[in-house]
Point group: C2
Chain length 470, copies 2
C-alpha cells in the first residue's frame, strides 16, 4: 500500500516535472504530505526514486529542484572497432533460459526454480540475522567464512565411504555463484588454447565459461547412463586433455544420473590419464526419486574438483557456491578467485550458512522434492497425452528439466518462436551442445511457475510440432 | 550476551565431545537449557555451530549424536604437477594490504577504511529493507537493477559540462566489486598477450587482474601531477597499445589528483591514438580538501571506461560497483560479465541504492571527509616529527593513503618485518609497481583503526628506518 502511494506520487510528480522549467523548485515535503495524505516516509521514497532516475536533485537545506535535462546527440563509436580488434573468442550472449517471462505465458524455458519452491521465510530470517551481525560490515577471508567452508566439506564428507579421507574445511573455496567457479576452474586448471573435454549435451553456462577462458572444448557424447568410459579414454588419448567437465547427478539438460559403477569407471579413466574430473553437482538439493551420489565423495587423490551451489535452492539473491579441490589445483583456483574478485560478501555467506543449518531446511527440501515429483509427473503425463511426438529418453530421477527429442527435420528455433506466439516459452536444445546439436532437442523446465498450465503448454507444443513438420 | 552464552556452551560441549565415543547421544536441548540457564534459541545456536564444524549430527525426531571422525591419511598430489603444467601467468597471492590485523597492533597497512568510518546504521537499515523486498528472492537483470544503473549514470552526469552528452542508464553495467570490473575490462578490451599501459606505481589489484587476463603490462611513470602526456603518447606509439589504465583522482598509492588540464591532455593523447582510458575512480567518496573530478565526465565519445565502486565507502559486505562505457566496448564488457557470473545479487544492489539515496548518506560523507582530514593531518605531522626520513612527495587531497619515499638503500621488506615485530603494520611499496620498484617506497593508510596511535606508529617507523640503514 505504501509502495502504491509512493508510485502514485512519482507518476504525478513526473508529469509536473515534464511541464516545469529546469531548476524549478519542487513543493516541500510537508506540502506533498498534505496534498497526497501520506506519511513523510512515503514522500521521501518518491523523491528518492525521482533522484535515482536523474529527474530531480536535492540541495540539503535549500530544497529539491528539477534537473536540467541535456539533449543527447548521437555518437559514432566506430573508432572502437579498431581498438577492440576481432574478439579472441566470441562470447554468446546469455542463454534464452535466463529470460524473464511475463506473467501470462506458460514458462517452461527457465533454468531456475519458481519463487514458490524457495524457502522464503528461512531466507528472510537468515538475512535479518546476518544483517545484525558482524558480517554486514566486515570483509570476509579470501577462501570464505571458516564455518561455511566446514559446512561444505562436511556435507560432501557425509557421502564419503569408509577408507576414503573426507575433504577438510581448508579444501573448500567459497564462490560468488557456481558460474564464477566454472570460469576460474577452466582458467586455472586448463588455460587458454588447451583442450577441455565436456559431456555433450552439457550445461550452456559451462560452454560459455569455457569460451571466455579461451579453452578448446572437445565434446564427449553422453547419454542416459552418462559417458561411455572407452569413448572418454579415447578422447583423453586423442587430445592430451587433462580435464573432463561433467554432471554426474541429474545432468542439465538430459537429467541423467550415473550409476555408482559408471562413476567409478569414469574416475578410473580420469586417474589413468592423470587428469581432473570437474563434477558440477548443480542439482544436489533436487533429488526426486533418488538421492544424489557425488563421485567426488569417492576420491581423495585430488582427481575430482567438486562444484556445489546454493544459489538455485536457497535464493537467486544469495549467490553462494563452493569448489572443493585438493592439492595445488585448489591453490590455483584460489589465486584466480583472488585476482577476479578478492572475496565473497560475508553477509551472503552468513545468510547461506544460517539457512542450511536450520532444522527447517531439511523439512523444506523434503517438501520441494514432493513438489518436484508431482510437477515432473504432471509434465510427463501431459506431454505423453498432448505432444506424443516429443520423445523423452529418460524420466529424470532429479533436477528441474525434461529433455525431449523431436521428430527429425523439426526446426527447433522456428518451433520456439511458434510456441512463444501461442503463449508458451520453451528452450531450444541448441545451446546445450558445445558443437553442432546431435538432433532437434528441446528442454522443458517443470520447476517454473503455475504447473496447472502444463497440460495446456503440452497442447500448444503438440500443435506447434505438427505444424512445424508440415 | 546471547553470543557469549552460546560460545560458552560450544566450548563445553566440545570438551564433552572430545571424550565421547563416536555415535554418543548428546544431552537433549531441554537438558542443556536447564544446565546452562539459557534460552532454547541459544542452545540451538550452539548446536548449529557444532554441526557446521562437523562435530555432531542431528537425526530429526531421534536426537543429536557425536559424529565419527575419520583419520585422514596424507595424500600425494604430485600427479597434478603434470596435469596443471607451468602456469601461463603466475598469479601473485593477495596483497599484504588485505591482511587482517590483531587488535593490539598499529595497522597502517590496509587498503580499507576502518569500521568506524562506515555508515553502519544506514547499511543495516538498508539491508533490512532490502531483505523484506522482492530483491531477496529474485534474480537481477544481467546489467544490474535499472534504478541502480540510473543512479550511477546520474552521478557521473552531475559532473558533465555543458555540450557533453551525459551517460545514460543503459551505459552502466553493475559489478560485484570493482576488482571483477578490472578483470572483465582487461579481458574484454585488451585480450591475452596484447599490451596494456598502466601508471607506475599503480593499484596492485589492477596489476593482479592484468596478470590474470594474460595481458602484457607496460608501465608509464606517473608522479604527483599524473602521467606526462608526451611520455604516454610515446608509450602508445612504441607498443601499439589501445588502453591506458589510470586513477585520476587520489591515485592509489601516490594520492595524486590530475588537474582538469592534465586530464584533458591525457584524454587528447588517448583519442589521438584511438585508444581507451580506463579511469578507476576508486576514491570518489573520499575527497578531503578537493572534490573528485572524473575525466570520464568530459568524454562522450566512448574513449573513457569509468569504474566506480561503493564497496569501500558503503560496506565491504555490499560488493557493488559499476562500469560506465559506451558503444561496443560496453557490450564486450557485459558479455564477459555474463560468462563470468551472470548477474549481481539484487539484494546487495537494492541495499547499496538505498544507502546512497538516503539524505543521511551525504551527511555521512561530510563527516567521513572531516575525519579523514584530521587523520591525514595527524599522520603527516607524526611522520614529520618522528620519522623525518620518510619523505612525502605529496600531501594528498583525498583518498586513504600516504606514499613515502625512504632513503636510498632501505630494504623495505626487511623494514616491514622489523616494524611488524615492534607492533606496526605497514605496506612495502613493491606491490604497487608493475615491474621493478622505482625506489624504496612504503604506503601508509590513515583510515585504519585507532588514529590515536599514529604518533607511536611514526616513532616505531622512524626507529626502524634508522636501524635498517645501519
Amino acid at each position: 500500500m505504501d509502495n502504491d502511494s509512493s508510485s502514485r506520487i512519482v507518476a504525478q510528480l513526473k508529469e509536473w516535472i515534464a511541464r516545469a522549467a529546469p531548476g524549478s523548485r519542487l513543493p516541500s515535503t510537508r506540502a506533498l504530505v498534505a496534498e497526497h495524505s501520506v506519511s513523510p516516509v512515503t514522500v521521501q521514497k518518491a523523491l528518492q526514486a525521482l533522484t535515482a532516475q536523474g529527474l530531480i536533485e536535492s540541495r540539503p537545506g535549500v530544497g529539491t529542484f528539477v534537473r536540467a535535462v541535456r539533449t543527447a546527440r548521437p555518437s559514432d563509436y566506430g573508432w572502437q572497432t579498431a581498438a577492440l580488434r576481432s574478439p579472441q573468442a566470441p562470447l554468446r550472449s546469455a542463454s534464452a533460459a535466463m529470460r524473464s517471462a511475463p506473467n501470462d505465458v506458460i514458462a517452461l524455458h527457465s533454468g531456475y526454480p519458481a519463487r514458490e519452491l524457495l524457502p522464503e521465510r528461512l531466507v528472510r530470517a537468515a538475512l535479518i540475522r546476518a544483517t545484525r551481525g558482524e558480517a554486514a560490515l566486515t570483509r570476509a577471508p579470501a577462501a570464505g567464512l571458516p564455518e561455511l567452508q566446514s559446512w561444505f566439506a562436511h556435507e560432501l564428507g557425509t557421502s564419503t565411504p569408509p577408507g576414503v579421507t573426507p575433504p577438510g574445511a581448508s579444501d573448500v573455496v567459497v564462490l560468488p555463484g557456481s558460474q564464477s567457479g566454472l570460469s576460474s576452474i577452466f582458467r586455472a586448471l586448463v588455460g587458454s588454447g588447451q583442450p577441455l573435454l565436456m559431456e555433450s549435451p552439457s550445461y550452456w553456462g559451462a560452454i560459455l565459461a569455457a569460451a571466455q577462458a579461451g579453452v578448446r572444448v572437445v565434446p564427449v557424447p553422453s547419454g542416459p547412463d552418462g559417458p561411455d568410459p572407452d569413448g572418454l579414454a579415447r578422447a583423453f588419448e586423442e587430445t592430451g586433455s587433462r580435464l573432463f567437465y561433467a554432471q554426474a547427478n541429474y545432468a542439465n539438460p538430459t537429467g541423467a544420473q550415473w550409476s555408482v559403477r559408471r562413476g567409478d569407471e569414469v574416475l578410473e579413466v580420469v586417474r589413468r590419464h592423470g587428469a581432473f574430473l570437474v563434477e558440477d553437482d548443480w542439482a544436489h538439493d533436487f533429488g526426486i526419486s533418488s538421492a544424489p551420489s557425488p563421485v567426488a565423495a569417492r576420491d581423495d587423490s585430488g582427481h575430482v574438483v567438486y562444484l556445489r551451489t546454493l544459489t538455485k535452492s536457497v535464493s537467486p539473491a544469495i549467490r553462494v557456491a563452493a569448489v572443493i579441490a585438493r592439492g595445488p589445483a585448489r591453490e590455483r583456483i584460489l589465486a584466480d578467485r583472488g585476482a577476479e574478485s578478492m572475496y565473497v560478501s560475508g553477509l551472503l555467506q552468513a545468510a547461506a550458512l544460517d539457512v542450511v543449518t536450520q532444522p527447517a531446511w531439511q523439512t523444506h527440501l523434503r517438501s520441494v522434492r514432493h513438489q518436484l515429483q508431482s510437477r515432473r509427473d504432471l509434465l510427463v503425463t501431459s506431454l505423453r497425452e498432448h505432444a506424443p511426438q516429443a520423445h523423452l529418453t529418460l524420466v529424470p530421477k532429479g533436477g528441474l528439466n525434461l529433455w525431449a527429442r523431436l521428430p527429425d527435420g523439426t526446426d527447433v528455433e522456428q518451433l520456439s518462436a511458434d510456441c512463444e506466439r501461442a503463449g508458451l516459452l520453451i528452450a531450444a536444445g541448441t545451446e546445450w551442445f558445445p558443437a553442432e546439436p546431435a538432433g532437434p532437442f528441446i528442454r522443458l523446465n517443470y520447476a517454473g511457475p503455475n504447473p496447472g498450465a502444463f497440460p495446456e503448454g503440452a497442447r500448444i507444443l503438440g500443435r506447434a510440432i505438427q505444424e512445424n513438420l508440415r
